[in-house]
């Protein structure tokens, strides 16, 4: 899955956001990965992720699920998907992961230059890169870019453009605040990498540009 690769949005916000995957390799280190993944999730919770999901539960942090339920569900082969905000946070997290040395593949989706800097500071040797070469085909059928910056936070396409427009309408008519709107937008994402904090920032900028045609 490359669902975290094609995140769109303003560069200043992309610079601050890092998607982190913990990914056991089927047939190579699945066996015994459960306790390792659990330790990593406990550490990630301490880091304060913007969102997190484990594949054994497929419900993100904003889906009325407790940390204990998330930890209890982890078994061999469980993958972890999370979003961390801030360069220092990702640097500290990677330093801890390096020290823990659990031996499970770690993947970061982020601005290449920022990850390069952090890797150099920590003495890490990144192995493989997956580059996005953009969208092709009938691109005029796409939702506009200001909506896509929300919907592409869930790379599986589970966050609907219509939902984003609906929460914008509800914020503008006073039914929701920015955080409530962002949690509603985050809820359908079943890969746990929709970042409600970035959503709040983007909504602040976007709201003045939209008008409401119904209450």
């Amino acid at each position: 899955m490359t669902h975290s690769l094609h995140r769109e949005g303003p560069l200043d916000l992309l610079n601050k956001e890092y998607v982190l995957f913990v990914y056991p390799a089927r047939g190579f280190n699945y066996d015994g990965s459960g306790p390792k993944a659990k330790r990593l999730v406990e550490m990630l919770f301490h880091q304060g992720p913007a969102n997190l999901l484990v594949t054994t539960l497929r419900r993100n942090m904003y889906s009325a699920i407790s940390r204990e339920e998330i930890l209890d569900s982890i078994k061999d082969g469980t993958k972890i998907f999370c979003v961390l905000e801030g360069r220092e946070k990702i640097k500290d997290t990677l330093a801890k992961i390096k020290e823990m040395d659990e031996g499970i593949s770690i993947v970061i989706s982020g601005v290449i230059d920022r990850v390069r800097e952090v890797s150099a500071e920590l003495g890490l040797k990144p192995h493989t890169i997956n580059l996005s070469l953009g969208i092709h085909g009938k691109t005029d059928r796409l939702p506009p870019a200001d909506i896509r910056q929300f919907t592409t936070m869930c790379g599986h396409g589970m966050v609907s453009p219509r939902l984003i427009r609906d929460v914008i309408r509800r914020v503008k008519t006073g039914k929701l605040n920015l955080w409530e709107a962002s949690l509603i937008a985050a809820a359908p994402c079943s890969c746990g990498i929709f970042n409600p904090y970035r959503s709040v920032e983007m909504l602040k900028d976007l709201l003045p540009l939209y008008t409401v045609n119904r209450l």
């Binding site: 390799a25 890169i129 070469l133």
Partner: protein, 247 residues
């Protein structure tokens, strides 16, 4: 997906949740357009229906309709691979499995992304173009292989032509010197489809998180633009000792 007409109260709360706008009002009740619906299950998982009128269709797991579910619902497990989602690992575990080696480039064409989805007729236009260009070996662990009738021609199974998927990933690898030819073929095929796809390439890194210049040259020569954000395998994984001994 279906909405029970006898239960639906016409509140419309479910409608914004459908990624492709398949739910609309008919005679004051919400109805799912079965032709548009990708069976992704987002409307049901949203749990916003006050009367629990949304349910899976009785035929959602019947072939060939089941294709929609398996490729559109990231929570569904593919019958072939037993893996949820699109079922590919691509670059994510390359530090352990070493699938893409130095001098090689992995390529992925993610049909339907972002958000629009794509029908099999249009996917076949690309698979045929790729086969004509000599790309016939698709990543074997990828459930995309399930769709292909003839790898040499790129023809998909004919019974699937009426179906559509929110996303399906065609994944293969080539030598670095073939990358330009592949990217050129993809760009040409993009003109023929009536939806969208995203393209990505993955490669081993040189020291200092440097992308091999051969890859950059090929990408730029074919007129592609690299996004500033990427997915980076940090090189922290390793195989279990028992597996290494067997190898």
């Amino acid at each position: 997906m279906l909405i029970r007409k006898d239960l639906c109260v016409g509140c419309g709360r479910c409608q914004p949740y459908c990624p492709v706008g398949a739910i609309h009002f008919e005679e004051l009740k919400s109805v799912v357009d079965q032709e548009v619906c990708y069976e992704c299950g987002t409307c049901l998982r949203a749990e916003v229906c006050p009367v629990e009128a949304i349910e899976e269709s009785p035929y959602v797991y019947e072939y060939p309709r089941a294709l929609r579910k398996f490729f559109s619902d990231p929570n569904a497990t593919h019958a072939l691979t037993g893996i949820a989602g699109r079922g590919t690992e691509e670059s994510k575990t390359n530090d352990v499995i070493n699938r893409v080696k130095p001098g090689e480039v992995g390529v992925a064409v993610e049909f339907g992304r972002p958000t629009l989805g794509m029908d099999l007729t249009n996917i076949q236009k690309v698979t045929r173009a790729m086969a004509k260009a000599g790309i016939t070996e698709i990543e074997p662990e990828n459930p995309f292989n399930d769709l292909i009738q003839n790898h040499d021609t790129g023809d998909l199974k004919p019974e699937l032509m009426g179906e559509k998927v929110l996303s399906a990933i065609m994944e293969f690898k080539v030598k670095q010197d073939q990358l330009g030819h592949v990217l050129r073929t993809i760009k040409k095929a993009a003109r023929e489809v009536d939806s969208v796809f995203v393209v990505d390439v993955y490669t081993r890194l040189e020291p200092g998180l440097a992308v091999p210049k051969e890859v950059i040259s090929a990408v730029e020569a074919e007129g592609y633009t690299r996004r500033p954000n990427a997915k980076i395998n940090m090189g922290l994984g390793r195989a279990n000792k028992t597996v290494r001994r067997k190898a």
